[in-house]
């Protein structure tokens, strides 16, 4: 096997791995704030690319503005889901299982509404910078992959800064550690939960937007991304945002190499095998469980 081919796979694996990682972080942020595994996460990824496409092509807005508006719109949708789907159940002390199912239902509703509002055709977005690939030792690194990696690292850095240094970030961590104790200090835990949904939705949207130029988006791409992000979060030790990002990178790379050796047909099999492997052998993930 050609070494450059393996290198090429690694590069594309890192790119998609970053995206899985961002989605995985989204899972963790909501899980930490509420204990809920939010399966509507995939819808945020899909909508990021889709709304940007609609604003760009039908709205004829500048690319940058379309991206910004799409991220904000999806973040807002995150808050709406928290208010309309999660909180009413939460206030009624619904079992966790019910709330998780409700997010899955929200995913399906959003998917179908998108199908009705747009259509079922795959859409793509222009690459961020239209430059030829950078050649590194015979490996072609396309510019979009660089955008994805750089963008993801920047976001992870900003998130770390947010959670470590800002008042609100610290309050969100406090809620994750002990929600009742946080409330007893006057921290508005409901607002923190809404914020967690906004943050996760925005992250999902950014992931979807960065990825769409290299692939495509369609109304039904959300669930596979949600599953990959979920696996990333499991690998990282559920509830650990940084671990989820590492998990995403690992999943992306292993998948890419597996495609190289076994063909694209086994991509999902490999991903789910990794999930099973971790669930059986190391259920606490590479970094260990949060808390």
């Amino acid at each position: 096997m050609d070494v450059t081919l393996i290198g090429q796979s690694l590069v594309s694996g890192l790119g998609i791995g970053c995206v899985y990682g961002l989605i995985g972080i989204g899972f963790c942020v909501i899980y930490n704030a509420s204990g809920i595994v939010n399966f509507a996460q995939g819808a945020f990824v899909m909508l990021g690319g889709m709304i940007t496409h609609v604003l760009l092509v039908r709205g004829e807005l500048p690319y940058g503005l379309a991206i910004l508006l799409a991220v904000l719109a999806v973040a807002l949708l995150g808050v709406v889901i928290e208010r309309v789907v999660v909180r009413p159940l939460w206030n009624r002390n619904a079992p966790m299982f019910v709330m998780i199912l409700a997010t899955l239902a929200a995913q399906i509703v959003i998917e179908r509404l998108t199908y009705l509002a747009v259509d079922d055709q795959p859409k793509t977005l222009p690459v961020f910078t239209d430059l030829p690939p950078v050649m590194v030792r015979g490996i072609a690194v396309n510019m979009q992959a660089l955008w994805i990696v750089a963008g993801s690292l920047a976001i992870v850095g900003l998130l770390a800064l947010f959670f470590r240094t800002t008042r609100t970030g610290k309050a969100m961590r406090a809620c994750a550690i002990n929600r009742e104790a946080a409330a007893l200090q006057g921290i508005p835990v409901h607002s923190m939960l809404a914020l967690a949904f906004a943050l996760s939705a925005g992250l999902g949207a950014i992931a979807g937007i960065m990825l769409t130029p290299t692939q495509y988006t369609a109304f039904d791409v959300g669930v596979p991304f949600a599953i990959s992000g979920f696996i990333a979060a499991i690998i990282g030790g559920f509830g650990r945002p940084f671990g989820a990002f590492l998990g995403g990178l690992m999943l992306g790379v292993v998948q890419a190499v597996a495609i190289l050796f076994f063909g694209a047909g086994l991509k999902t099999v490999v991903a789910l095998s990794i999930l099973l492997l971790f669930l059986f052998v190391r259920p606490s993930g590479i970094l260990g469980l949060a808390k």
């Binding site: 008042r167 961590r173 406090a174 550690i177 200090q185 921290i187």
Partner: protein, 252 residues
């Protein structure tokens, strides 16, 4: 001698006429189970009120009911207006601050972060935050040495000091504590109770839930004795002469 020893109803001990905290007919349920039978509970200005009773008597439930953390019946008012139910953050913002059972500190976060989060309502007023922190360090100098340390890595006594310090950062108008001595060495416990006495003598009303009755009675102006989810007696600590007498209350 008053109250339970003679089987007389609670209330023979003089009750403050102008309470800051007043619960009328307060009861609590966990699902279908009544955990606290309706009772009246008041705290006067500057009072330190102890809540005593054996394990499972409903002491913690009483605190949780005051804070509105459980399903309650009856009415709880603080400084003349009723306290919201099922909204602990709003209750905290009224100045009613609970140091919960098991301390509830944010273990992975630093001592400084814990204290900072205590003053959430303060917003970005750094000067006032510093002032409050200074006051906490006066009471618990050890916390100052541990500022950068993960809260969960400290000893139990230090964690309890942090839990109280964090509550004080909210500048409470009344402080409620759920068994602060739990799991602590007697000497550390005395130190913490002594600090509560200092706070109380400075005018802060305190509700202290304790299983170790003798220590609590040394500080308290009044004590409520609970048993099996009911109010068994209201005690005047000055009238409790001996352990035997206390035991009488417990087993009455």
């Amino acid at each position: 001698m008053t109250a339970a020893a003679s089987g007389a109803p609670a209330g023979a001990v003089p009750v403050p006429a102008d309470p800051v905290l007043a619960a009328r007919g307060l009861s609590a349920r966990y699902g279908e189970v009544q955990a606290l039978a309706p009772l009246d509970f008041v705290v006067g200005p500057g009072e330190l009120v102890a809540v005593l009773g054996p394990n499972g008597a409903g002491k913690s439930t009483l605190l949780r009911a005051i804070l509105g953390l459980v399903a309650t019946g009856g009415e709880v008012s603080f400084m003349g207006s009723s306290l919201p139910r099922r909204n602990p953050a709003a209750v905290a913002n009224r100045g009613v601050v609970l140091v919960p059972e098991g301390r509830g500190i944010f273990g992975p976060m630093t001592v400084a972060e814990n204290l900072e989060l205590g003053s959430w309502r303060l917003g970005r007023d750094a000067r006032e935050r510093q002032r409050r922190m200074g006051r906490v360090f006066e009471l618990f100098p050890r916390l100052k040495e541990r500022l950068g340390q993960a809260a969960g890595s400290m000893s139990g006594g230090e964690q309890q000091m942090l839990a109280i310090g964090r509550a004080l950062m909210a500048d409470p108008k009344i402080l409620l504590l759920d068994e602060p001595s739990l799991g602590l060495a007697p000497r550390v416990m005395e130190e913490i109770l002594e600090t509560l006495g200092v706070l109380n003598r400075a005018g802060l009303p305190v509700v202290l839930v304790e299983q170790r009755a003798p220590s609590a009675l040394k500080l308290a102006h009044r004590a409520y004795l609970l048993s099996l989810g009911r109010l068994a007696a209201v005690i005047d600590p000055r009238e409790v002469q001996s352990h035997d007498q206390l035991a009488q209350y417990y087993f009455a």
